[in-house]
């Protein structure tokens, strides 16, 4: 389109009268090499910022809500994988809860002899898994939350003189306060098989590879995963107090929902035991009534658009203001001192009228 064409009466002409953007006829404008360079830099900067904005838009924001479960609860699954430094035949597993029920866990638990392996473990109080904790954002939760039915296979026993027992499995318990415990045979519950265990044989050193509530997601990190406790005296009572917080992760648009439980844990090693407190490993759990719902959300599209446009507009305006000032100074004080076109007649936003070298 020729810019010098006369006024038309057609649609084009009518549309043209709407043009609110001042363009200065080329005869009045000049172009400078600095201006070109700045424009290129500016475009690159804009692309960079847009890229960042797009990234944060698609990454979404996490929104947390506190919810009180409005369904009537029945049961809850416990997944565990614990290795105790005692032969399987001497161990007794049980769950007792506030409803008065006793889960005969021994019938559900897999018990297999293995080595007592302390590599890859740490004590509960040691913060050695900061990396895993940091990796706790929604995206990685969704990536790692792959439900599994089976536990990994037990490693073959290499050292027959240090027998240990791996207890693992998933079981349903009442969704009430309860107590999951591993005790020595004949030390907490009367057992007819009396010959098995003496006081000296009791060593409740243990490694917890998995202890979680709800569906079994092997890759999700729990506070007790990888925790080891080494005990050098017998007749030891090792207690964990676990507070379970029901947690729901909802991905953007509700496409993926993961219903799981997080928990907080404190431990209490107790060297002195009495008949009412038999030795063993006791995991006492309670369920918090207030659950957490973590939802992935995106900024509304229009808001995102406004932000994008603001960023671009801001840059353009700022540069338009900044560049002539710098340019003027450059001209005035370094390049052509005294002998220059009078810049005073220019406005600050007016980058159209620039002096060329």
């Amino acid at each position: 389109m020729d810019t010098t064409e006369p006024e038309e009466n057609g649609i084009r002409g009518r549309v043209r009268t709407f043009d609110a953007f001042p363009k200065v006829a080329p005869t009045y404008t000049t172009q400078s090499s600095q201006g070109g360079l700045v424009t290129i830099l500016l475009s690159l900067f804009c692309v960079y910022l847009i890229w960042g904005e797009l990234g944060s838009y698609f990454a979404g924001i996490e929104e947390q809500q506190f919810v009180v479960d409005n369904r009537v609860g029945w049961d809850m699954q416990i997944n565990f994988d614990i290795t105790v430094a005692m032969p399987c035949i001497t161990l007794h597993v049980n769950v007792q809860d506030a409803a008065g029920d006793r889960l005969l866990a021994a019938e559900l638990v897999e018990m297999e002899p293995t080595d007592f392996d302390l590599s890859k473990t740490h004590e509960l109080t040691v913060e050695s898994r900061s990396e895993a904790q940091e990796d706790d954002d929604l995206q990685s939760v969704f990536r790692r939350a792959k439900a599994a039915k089976k536990f990994s296979k037990t490693k073959k026993m290499h050292h027959p003189n240090s027998p240990a027992c791996r207890l693992y499995g998933s079981m349903k318990v009442n969704k009430v306060q309860g107590d999951f415990h591993i005790t020595g045979k004949n030390f907490a519950y009367a057992d007819y098989d009396r010959s098995m265990l003496t006081r000296d044989g009791l060593n409740f050193s243990h490694v917890i590879d998995e202890f979680s509530f709800g569906e079994y997601y092997p890759k999700l990190e729990n506070p007790l995963d990888g925790v080891a406790a080494i005990i050098d005296t017998n007749m030891f009572r090792y207690q964990y107090y676990v507070s379970v917080v029901p947690t729901t992760y909802v991905s953007y648009g509700g496409r993926k929902v993961i219903d799981t439980n997080q928990y907080a844990v404190t431990e209490q090693p107790q060297p002195h035991v009495n008949p009412t407190h038999p030795p063993g490993i006791f995991l006492k759990y309670d369920i918090e009534p207030i659950g957490l719902e973590i939802t992935e959300r995106r900024v509304p599209f229009f808001q995102f658009l406004v932000r994008l446009i603001n960023v671009l507009g801001g840059i353009v305006v700022c540069t338009g203001w900044f560049f002539p000032v710098v340019d003027t100074m450059w001209d005035k004080y370094w390049v052509k001192r005294g002998k220059s076109i009078p810049h005073e007649t220019q406005g600050l936003l007016d980058k159209g009228l620039k002096h060329s070298d």
Partner: protein, 389 residues
């Protein structure tokens, strides 16, 4: 330099002389399109400004010595009202046995038709015996302590029942007890045995751990035990069960934002000795709606549990061993969470930030449009120059 000229330097809105201005069709199109975009963005900003968001907050509940109302409406289709008692007890030692104030029991026929509805206070008054002479002193059948012998009279059937209850004896259906036969108590028991009962109302409890239960027979409480007189319930030739339907159970005032999980729960059983247990965790909740007074109420989460009194292995989950003992009934054991949820409705944007948003939208769009417009224009110029060459 003249002062006016110096001021001109600061003019951020320089104007191009009309001769130097160029209007193009592309510019016009860009203007129209950007105006439309601006309108859309302003509308969306306005919506955003008017939007009410719910911002939940979690605080530690610092209120003390509060009491809490429990509202309920439960139907027991196979237990007559006379047999049913409601007791409340909590960890502070407070006990409210056989609560009657504020509670209405409705007798239901076997087909669930309403026979009569009565507030329990009235029932007590009608049971007095006005036709007896003033000097009458009925025997209590040995159901009073030795030292009170001869000083205390049991003039009505209810007195005898209370005396029996105080010493912890089972009462039965009242045959052979003079006062009860006079009041036709055995016949009454016989007459209502096919009936059901709807019990509804509210009572107030301390906001501490506690439990309330619907159980058969009068209850007897000593510092160490709480027992119910199960004689009538278990010796009746009609099988009474604790099958029940919870129409409503809530803690604290009504608010339409609360879903009470137990509303509408129905439990069936044909077993006489069956125990239902609900583990309720109460969470204080405050609703703050825009333009409304805040409402302090409670939400709850609940876990349901049921077992036969004889204990033993569960029929569906073979690995679960139920405890043995206890009494038939429906038990609600409630626990109070230390945390309080505040559901606050608010408008996240003030009018000022709405204005800022509008300005930003307009300014941003115009700035970008300027760039596009210039780009189009320059491209167009370059093309036409090529053509002319």
């Amino acid at each position: 330099m003249a002062p006016r000229r110096r001021l001109t330097t600061f003019d951020a809105f320089s104007k191009t002389v009309e001769d130097a201005r160029v209007r193009t069709t592309s510019g016009g199109v860009v203007t129209i399109v950007s105006s439309i975009i601006i309108c859309l963005l302003i509308v969306s900003e306005w919506r955003d400004y008017r939007q009410i968001t719910n911002r939940p907050e979690l605080i530690v509940d610092k209120t003390r010595g509060e009491r809490m109302n429990i509202n309920f409406n439960v139907t027991f289709p196979t237990i007559p009202c006379d047999m049913l008692t409601l007791d409340v007890m909590d960890i502070s030692g407070d006990q409210q046995t056989e609560i009657s104030h504020g509670i209405i029991k409705t007798r239901l026929g076997p087909d669930r038709s309403i026979i009569s509805s009565e507030s329990l206070d009235l029932l007590k008054a009608s049971e007095s015996a006005p036709h007896l002479d003033a000097g009458y002193c009925g025997p209590c059948y040995g159901a009073i302590p030795k030292e009170e012998e001869g000083k205390r009279c049991c003039n009505t059937c209810d007195d005898v029942r209370n005396a029996y209850q105080e010493v912890g004896w089972a009462f039965g259906d009242g045959t052979g007890v003079e006062q009860c036969e006079r009041e036709n108590y055995p016949q009454r028991v016989e007459a209502v045995k096919h009936e059901g009962c709807n019990i509804a109302g509210h009572f107030s409890v301390n906001k501490v751990v506690g439990n309330f239960h619907f159980a058969p027979g009068k209850s007897y409480t000593s510092p160490t035990v709480h027992v119910h007189d199960l004689n009538q319930y278990s010796s009746s030739d009609v099988v009474h069960t604790f099958a029940h339907e919870i129409h409503h159970l809530s803690f604290g005032p009504y608010h339409n934002g609360i879903i009470n999980p137990l509303d509408g729960a129905v439990k069936h059983t044909t077993e006489r000795n069956f125990n239902y247990m609900y583990f309720v965790k109460v969470v204080s909740t405050r609703f703050e709606k825009i333009g409304q007074a805040p409402v302090d109420t409670n939400q709850y989460s609940v876990t349901s549990h049921e077992r036969p009194i004889r204990g033993g292995r569960d029929e569906d989950h073979k690995n679960t061993m139920h405890a043995r003992g206890g009494i038939p009934g429906v038990f609600f054991s409630y626990d109070i969470s230390p945390m309080k949820v505040i559901n606050r409705e608010e408008r996240p944007k003030s009018f000022g930030s709405f204005l800022i948003g509008v300005c930003a939208a307009v300014g941003g769009v115009l700035a970008v449009a300027t760039v596009i417009d210039r780009g189009v224009w320059e491209a167009d110029k370059a093309l036409s120059r090529k053509k002319t060459i």
